[in-house]
């Protein structure tokens, strides 16, 4: 499958001031990632691992410090003029975590969905709005167009956010924890919607989440991030059923699982390393039960069983 988005050596550093001292926080420390056509890739990890920064750099909300971003095989320049920027935004849309905060409370759904059409001069036909509402399973669409966001439930609001994202017919949607604020009974409805949009509209998703079970359900591939680096990447089902990297194992153990027979005890008490002064070698080394002296040296990605793992054990 052809790739729609390819990232090589992506780095992002933030300057942080504390008193008179200035620190450099290395949020992304060289990320290589590929997103193929009609593919859902989930990025999982703890907060502070850089997953949201990655999404924001790809959405051009942050400028990368170093690295290359290719969209449909063409390198994306650092600066875009207004026309190029519009074209980019038309192809790459975003969906945020909180459906209560990402819709303007003073505007009707019809206005919210019309905005992208006006900005991208697609021509404003009511039929387009009705079609996208039907695509996100808000039926009958007429009844939703005249409503305000507060009249909808959380799940319905998140569907409106998806409708707004697909109205420009994008090829890529960057989704930042789209289900974490939703109740259990409707969460899977939104996950199913993502699967449907992928199948019927040929949309690729880069999905950031901390919910390993949701990631396993919808994704083709899972990328595990830790301290600004990708530590494991591969087939979603395989990663969850047989994690290779010790950090992925830890995540797998920590995830709630009603099917577990007895609560296996988690021995971990550590924390992710500081990103101001990250360790030279494997970032997980201080917390890892399998740590060896050679983990202090930088560890390269290696390929094991068709998966990429950044660990000296393999």
């Amino acid at each position: 499958m052809p790739s729609v988005l390819r990232v090589t050596g992506l780095k992002k550093e933030f300057t942080v001031r504390r008193g008179f001292k200035v620190f450099t926080l290395k949020a992304l420390r060289g990320v290589d990632l590929e997103l193929n056509e009609k593919e859902i890739v989930s990025v999982v990890g703890e907060s502070g691992c850089g997953k949201t920064t990655l999404l924001r750099v790809l959405a051009r909300l942050y400028e990368p410090t170093a690295g290359k971003i290719e969209l449909f095989g063409k390198e994306l320049p650092r600066k875009l003029n207004r026309k190029e920027e519009l074209k980019f935004r038309k192809l790459v849309q975003m969906v945020f975590q909180d459906p209560f905060a990402s819709l303007n409370p003073t505007k009707k759904i019809s206005y919210i969905l019309e905005r992208p059409l006006k900005i991208h001069r697609i021509g404003n036909e009511e039929q387009i709005l009705k079609n996208v509402l039907e695509d996100v399973e808000l039926t009958p669409p007429e009844s939703f167009l005249e409503k305000f966001p507060h009249e909808l439930s959380g799940g319905q609001r998140q569907r409106v956010v998806f409708a707004r994202a697909i109205v420009t017919k994008p090829k890529i949607i960057l989704a930042d924890e789209p289900t974490s604020m939703l109740d259990v009974s409707i969460k899977s409805g939104v996950l199913n919607l993502m699967l449907k949009l992928k199948a019927e509209h040929d949309i690729s998703f880069l999905h950031v989440t901390h919910d390993l079970a949701a990631a396993k359900y919808i994704s083709d591939r899972i990328v595990v991030m830790y301290a600004g680096l990708i530590v494991e990447e591969g087939d979603a089902k395989q990663i969850v059923s047989k994690p290779l990297h010790p950090y992925t194992m830890l995540l797998r153990e920590a995830a709630p699982d009603p099917g577990r027979s007895s609560s296996a005890s988690l021995t971990d008490v550590g924390e992710p390393p500081s990103l101001v002064n990250p360790p030279r070698g494997c970032p997980f080394e201080p917390r890892c039960t399998y740590a060896q002296p050679r983990c202090k040296e930088p560890v390269e990605m290696r390929i094991v069983d068709g998966r990429k793992v950044r660990c000296v054990l393999y």
Partner: protein, 313 residues
């Protein structure tokens, strides 16, 4: 030991009454881990506040009793409640790690209740604080710190230590770990579980994360529209759910160990608790609903070793 009998509570406004807890009864035995699960707005937090006699206006308890070792908490006067709270029953609230006072040292906010309500001297109070902090795995030096100097997980541990100060018999926990990262969350929950066994107290655990509850709780109650619809042993409720709502929740829940091709969400949305509900509150979202569900409200009945409120059985 701890028992809630026929509790009805809600919020009173000028034109309407939101009946958030509808005739709920349950019993917590010695060293139980009793889980209450439900979606947002199902009344679980109201139930907790009402059971602790903490419900403030416009909240109101209409009827029911909350018995702790035979005394009804709801009939106690404020001064008597002060004696019971912390000592016999305590509470860890939602994102309580943010409820620590930022300008007070950890030791002072922990010792506050001991000195103020339970007649401790300052020295004894600090001694006890030190001991309880050790219990949750925080170095005693940390008691000199201010909350901002601790990580989120440590602050949550401080709040748990605070709830355990006077070795209560029952600890209510309302989503004690949801604001934390998965790994930290897991280690805190594990610690809670260890402490429960070591210190012999019971937990009433309230959350919307049912996969977590099924794994941890010994008994579980599924709450919908202010009522308990199914109550039983957590493992059996998970393996053989009876109420259609419980079934729906389990089918809606992506799990890391199961391999379903498709998870289905439950259609519709929860019913408005300000309305008078006729028949079964779940019937509009239920695929098994029939005529009787519309006219007659199903009562909780004891079937196959558990309590279910459904006309199917």
């Amino acid at each position: 030991m701890f028992e809630v009998v026929g509790l009805n509570a809600g919020y009173e406004f000028r034109h309407k009454f939101v009946h958030a807890v509808r005739n709920v009864s349950f019993k917590v035995e010695e060293q139980d881990f009793f889980g209450i699960a439900g979606e947002s707005g199902c009344g679980k937090t109201t139930l907790m506040f009402a059971s602790l006699a903490l419900l403030k206006k416009p909240g109101k308890v209409i009827s029911g009793r909350v018995l702790l070792d035979g005394t009804d908490l709801l009939s106690l006067r404020a001064s008597e409640l002060k004696q019971v709270r912390w000592k016999k029953i305590s509470l860890v609230t939602q994102s309580s790690m943010n409820s620590l006072n930022p300008v007070m040292k950890i030791k002072d906010q922990m010792a506050d209740v001991l000195i103020r309500n339970h007649g401790f001297s300052k020295k004894d109070a600090y001694e006890l604080v030190k001991e309880k902090l050790k219990l949750v795995g925080i170095a005693p030096e940390r008691m000199e710190n201010y909350p901002h100097q601790l990580s989120g997980g440590m602050r949550q541990r401080v709040v748990i230590a605070m709830a355990l100060l006077l070795s209560p018999r029952v600890v209510f926990m309302d989503e004690p770990a949801t604001a934390l990262d998965v790994v930290v969350q897991r280690s805190i929950l594990q610690q809670i579980e260890d402490l429960r066994e070591r210190e012999h107290f019971s937990i009433v655990f309230i959350t919307h994360d049912i996969s977590l509850l099924f794994e941890l709780a010994t008994k579980i109650a599924i709450m919908y529209a202010g009522e308990f619809v199914e109550v039983g042993k957590a493992k059996t409720v998970y393996s053989e759910p009876m109420h259609p709502y419980t079934k729906g929740l389990i089918e809606a829940l992506p799990s890391i160990s199961r391999d379903l091709d498709r998870y289905k969400s439950i259609p519709g949305r929860p019913i408005d608790l300000a309305l008078k509900i006729e028949g079964c509150p779940f019937r509009e979202r239920c695929s098994f609903a029939f005529e009787r569900c519309r006219v007659e409200k199903p009562e909780l009945r004891f079937i196959n070793g558990r309590w279910v409120a459904c006309h199917l059985y």
